[in-house]
């Protein structure tokens, strides 16, 4: 559990970080909170000779909410996501989900950018961002481009981000509807056995808007398009919810691990999604 030798850089601007990243290419890696990266370095599962600490770049920090648009700097910590009162007011879903990540010690340093860029299907924020239909701002040597969270994840640890790009910020619209993030885990500090983020809006009995995504139930987050299509425009009764849950479970593709076998995970996924949908409807 001892990392191999590496050079440590702490640039104070995005450009500074990019130039080191370009110079060292494959041998370099950015570090945010380090709570996913440092464990793999300690186990020497990855060999990094240049570590670029993003902690000195103030442009990457902060939360702004303007004209119904939320923008969060990549280096904003999970703790800040919980304690920001504006965010809690306008997007309580973020707070609800963040409180279920790891433990306070991890959240004091773990960042939203690291969580979504990591590409680990066990991370909660990617599914959450797909629920919110967020956009990621990627800054590279050739400038800035935007990739949708729903298009970002390719496979476990493979994302649409190029090696020399930095994820600089995340943005999405204020949802203004019912919400819920439900997660089953074995203990505090554990990743999800199954988790689901849900947004829902109702027009009387009819669903006018829905978004559902799952965490740790496939090698990427799972945006449940079919379930959403089957809810929106429909009268929401227990049958409709059942059907939506069914489509969500269909879309999942978990693997067996110490959290349990596949049948169990799928079953629990169904229970968790159902709870999330029901909670979200109750909060419309």
């Amino acid at each position: 559990m001892i990392p191999s030798n590496f050079e440590y850089h702490k640039p104070d601007s995005i450009d500074g970080a990019l130039s080191i990243l370009t110079e060292w290419g494959d041998d370099a890696r950015v570090i945010a909170g380090g709570h996913s990266l440092i464990p793999v370095m300690k186990q020497r599962l990855t060999d990094i000779s240049h570590l670029i600490d993003l902690g000195g770049i103030s442009e990457l920090k902060g939360i702004s909410i303007e004209n119904n648009k939320v923008s969060i700097g990549a280096m904003t910590t999970q703790h800040e996501l919980i304690t920001n009162t504006q965010l809690a007011k306008f997007v309580p879903l973020i707070r609800e989900a963040s409180l279920q990540i790891a433990d306070p010690q991890v959240r004091y340093v773990g960042t939203i950018g690291g969580n979504v860029a990591n590409g680990d299907p066990a991370n909660d924020m990617p599914g959450l961002m797909q629920t919110l239909d967020a956009s990621y701002e990627l800054t590279g040597p050739n400038g800035v481009r935007i990739v949708k969270a729903r298009d970002f994840y390719e496979a476990a640890y493979f994302t649409a981000r190029e090696d020399e790009e930095i994820l600089t910020s995340i943005s999405f619209s204020v949802p203004n509807c019912g919400y819920a993030y439900e997660k089953q885990k074995r203990k505090i500090g554990d990743y999800a056995t199954a988790a689901a983020g849900v947004l829902i809006n109702m027009d009387n009995d009819t669903c006018s808007f829905a978004s559902i995504a799952l965490t740790n139930l496939s090698d990427t987050p799972v945006y449940c398009e079919e379930a959403v299509n089957n809810l929106v425009g429909k009268k929401v009764d227990s049958n409709a919810i059942k059907k939506a849950v069914h489509y969500c479970v269909e879309a999942s593709d978990p693997v067996a691990d110490t959290r349990g076998p596949v049948e169990f995970k799928k079953y629990v996924a169904g229970i968790i999604v159902q709870k999330a949908i029901e909670n979200a409807i109750a909060r419309v």
């Binding site: 191999s4 089953q184 500090g189 056995t193 110490t258 076998p261």
Partner: protein, 807 residues
């Protein structure tokens, strides 16, 4: 003398002796981060050593190339079995009469096994060196299931002893078989069971887990080449035994070895045995001439150092129609891993598993245990219990439950019917133990009343009805457990480790000004010995506990003892402490008699002084006597005031308790919520109620972990799948329920102060209470047995198999 003597109560209070909730004197340094653990020891020029470990569970080691590692800056040496062989240190004896490889000698037998030891300037260079050592392996077929170890064509694991038909514990029937151990009357038991009205039969598995102390294992070895003295600081639960073993296997004279156990961050049995790391740090210090430190990380600790449990217990229990138990039969298949490194008294290869008749008057019983080699880490230590007592308690408490189901009887009532009665003590058990004391019925009644047992059963029945109506998906489980432990090993006549009798010791010196130092052969790992043993002494010799320094763990200064595990410190060293205190008092009486110019017999002891009988104004306090012992020439009395006692207990002690857990179980998610845990302990005389409470909380939390999620699991290839704290369950405050504790007090009749030991009781009694709660919730659906740990997916699987997901 006209000074007024303070009232008795006031003087007793001032002593802070037996029965007071004295605050732990250790905590000031622990809570301020000022403890001194092995890893805090830093010596001039100290090097750091660490292991190349096997990625395979079973493989031949074809070659080890060290050149590249040695070329790394800062790497001083790479030690392999070939280097240790000329010293005869490539293998070492285990505590169980087996031998174990120190470093891979031709093959590896479990994942994480030590293959080579890299010594470097620091941890970083050592780790770079480890990665540069090239080991060529040839994979071999793996045995992870002990029931497959003796099948035709099974690979032979221990080629070194393949032809040995006789092991340390008798005949071996197969190269992968270690021993068969039997206790009780097989024929009589089989006869009773075959003729019984009712027989319940079940396979009860107590899974493999790990003590996982907060501090991992480690050592710092320093060979002083000038005076030839070897000093080793290490995480040793038995420092004296380590010294003797180190001397025997290294050839260094015992007086030239000093073993020091500094502060230890939890042991729970994990730090009883001898590990390759200790040997390698010693050899490396001899080779390099510099002090060498070795400290495991958490993954090393979980993967390679001593595990606990892994007992497959096939049981049969018989009873009359009315529920009077007539017989108990058990055959255990014990998975010992690659080397038999259990830490049991020599004559007990399965520990005290034959306490498995539990709290019940079972007239006929038989137990047999087969030890088996598999491709897993060695160990089999007593994780917060006396040797295999948790396994025994879990077995009988499960068998009681399955018998109750068979009989259609409430299991609380079945227990009550079969408890050993108060008037039967001392009680001779069918498997050979003499239970010293107990009052089970009183404890049980108190427990049932405390939780309002009848009401609970009613609520459970109502919940069940609601469940059947589809109104809820949550069931209630009520977990009962009444355990009897056997602790305080033990009488030298039948308990030894490597030939060393399991007595223990205390040496006391009273200083001229009336304060004292006491040294013991045990070593605290967080139990609070410095607090409680001073309290025992305070009450015995009338010196305030605050004025008594306690010292343990340095073999150059402490008297010889067998160390701390198996709840033996209070029963054995605690007794030695009281006995040494009584020797002090006896001499003090002679001195007082001289000073007061009366006959010895004219004096009586009064809290902190000797008083002339019938003349209370004439007395000498212990403080005065202490000073006199140093400054007066007393005829026929040597100067000074010291005593030492080596205590060989006449019997074990038998703590017991009644535990009840109430649990809510969600059948869909497999999640559980613990609503209530009631724990009544009887540990005889209570030395420090606050420490007892703390020990019970800690032990219950470990029990909760074991029952509900904690395990060392392997896949079919022999890879450890739970080697980090992400997968190995250690509860945080969040997962830990509230505990409600209570007690009864039945002193041990043979212990000088009647104390029995308590630190391990909550683990022994807690595991069956939690596990029985899970079983109980599903009982009405036909569940009889389901193996721990009861984590979410396993509980879900119970519900699934019972068809509860198709409603």
């Amino acid at each position: 003398m006209n000074e007024t003597i303070p009232p008795k109560e006031e003087r007793m209070t001032a002593l802070n002796g037996l029965g007071t909730s004295r605050k732990r004197v250790e905590d000031a340094r622990f809570t301020q981060g000022k403890g001194n653990y092995v890893d805090d020891i830093k010596l001039q020029g100290m090097l750091f050593g660490d292991f190349v470990r096997s990625p395979y569970a079973h493989a031949r080691v074809k070659s080890i190339k060290t050149e590249a590692a040695l070329a790394i800056p800062g790497v001083h040496a790479v030690i392999t079995a070939a280097d240790l062989e000329p010293l005869k240190l490539h293998w070492m004896p285990t505590l169980a009469g087996d031998v174990q490889m120190v470093l891979a000698d031709g093959k590896v037998l479990f994942q994480g096994q030590e293959v080579a030891f890299v010594v470097a300037d620091n941890r970083y260079a050592a780790d770079d060196g480890i990665k540069a050592v090239e080991v060529e392996y040839e994979e071999l077929p793996v045995i992870v299931d002990p029931f497959k170890a003796e099948l035709d064509g099974a690979p032979i694991l221990r080629e070194d002893i393949a032809d040995k038909k006789e092991g340390a514990h008798g005949p071996r029937r197969h190269p992968n078989h270690i021993f068969t151990w039997e206790s009780g009357d097989r024929q009589a038991t089989e006869a009773v069971i075959s003729e019984a009205d009712v027989v319940a039969e079940e396979m009860v598995y107590y899974h493999r887990t790990h003590p996982c102390p907060l501090e991992t294992c480690g050592s710092v070895a320093s060979m002083d080449k000038v005076n030839g003295k070897l000093t080793v600081w290490g995480t040793f639960q038995a420092p004296h035994a380590v010294r003797t073993v180190a001397s025997l296997i290294s050839g260094i004279a015992e007086h030239n070895i000093r073993i020091v156990s500094p502060d230890i961050g939890g042991g729970f049995g994990n730090k009883v045995g001898v590990y390759p790391g200790y040997i390698c740090s010693i050899v490396a210090s001899i080779v390099t001439g510099a002090p060498v430190k070795w400290i495991e990380d958490k993954m090393d600790n979980l993967m390679a150092t001593a595990f606990a449990r892994d007992y497959w217990m096939q049981g049969k229990i018989s009873a009359t129609k009315e529920g009077k138990i007539t017989g108990l039969w058990c055959h255990t298949t014990a998975d010992h891993g690659a080397f038999d490194a259990c830490a049991d008294p020599t004559k007990f290869p399965a520990g005290f598993m034959n306490i498995c008749t539990g709290s019940y008057d079972i007239p006929t019983a038989f137990l047999s245990v087969d030890g088996i080699y598999t491709n897993k880490a060695p160990g089999g230590v007593a994780y917060r219990c006396s040797f295999r007592v948790t396994e025994a308690a879990y077995f009988i408490e499960r068998m009681i439950e399955v018998l109750a189901i068979k009989l259609g009887m409430d299991s609380a009532e079945l227990r009550e019917k079969n408890f050993i009665r108060k008037d039967q003590f001392p009680y001779q058990s069918a498997l050979g133990w003499e239970y010293d004391s107990g009052d089970y019925h009183t404890a049980w009644d108190k427990a049932l009343k405390a939780v309002n047992y009848k009401e609970l059963r009613k609520e459970q029945a109502e919940r069940l009805e609601a469940f059947h109506k589809g109104e809820t998906r949550k069931l209630i489980g009520i977990g009962l457990s009444h355990f009897t432990e056997i602790v305080g090993a033990g009488p030298v006549k039948n308990c030894d480790i490597l030939g060393l009798g399991m007595f223990d010791s205390c040496e006391i010196r009273i200083h001229p000004t009336g304060s004292a130092i006491a040294r013991l052969g045990t070593i605290s790992q967080g139990q609070g010995h410095a607090t409680t043993f001073a309290q025992i002494l305070a009450s015995e010799i009338g010196i305030p506990a605050e004025d008594i320094t306690l010292e343990e763990g340095d073999t150059d200064t402490a008297p010889y003892g067998l160390g701390t595990y198996g709840s033996r410190s209070t029963p054995v060293a605690g007794a030695a402490t009281a006995m040494a205190g009584r020797k002090i008092r006896a001499k003090a009486q002679m001195i007082a008699a001289y000073l007061l110019e009366v006959h010895d017999n004219d004096l009586e002891w009064d809290v902190d002084r000797f008083v002339v009988k019938g003349n209370p104004e004439r007395f000498k306090t212990m403080k005065e006597i202490a000073f006199a012992s140093y400054n007066q020439a007393i005829p026929n009395v040597e100067p000074g005031l010291e005593a030492v006692s080596y205590y060989d207990p006449p019997n074990m002690t038998y703590p017991f308790g009644a535990y009840i857990c109430v649990m809510e179980i969600d059948v869909d998610t497999g999640t559980t919520e613990i609503r209530q845990v009631f724990a009544l302990d009887d540990c005889g005389t209570r030395i420090n109620p606050m420490i007892i409470e703390g020990q019970v909380h800690g032990g219950l939390t470990e029990a909760l972990a074991i029952a509900m999620g904690q395990e060392i699991a392997y896949d079919e290839m022999g890879n450890v799948t739970t080697g980090t704290l992400m997968d190995f369950f250690v509860p945080t405050a969040w997962e830990t329920p509230n505990y409600q504790t209570d007690y009864t007090e039945t002193p041990s009749p043979h212990h000088p102060i009647g104390a029995k030991g308590v630190g391990e009781s909550p683990n022994v009694g807690g595991v069956p209470a939690f596990s029985n709660a899970v079983h109980d919730a599903f009982k009405s659906f036909g569940l009889t047995q389901s193996h721990m740990p009861h984590d979410h997916w396993r509980i879900w699987t119970i519900a699934n198999k019972l068809g509860l997901h198709e409603m």
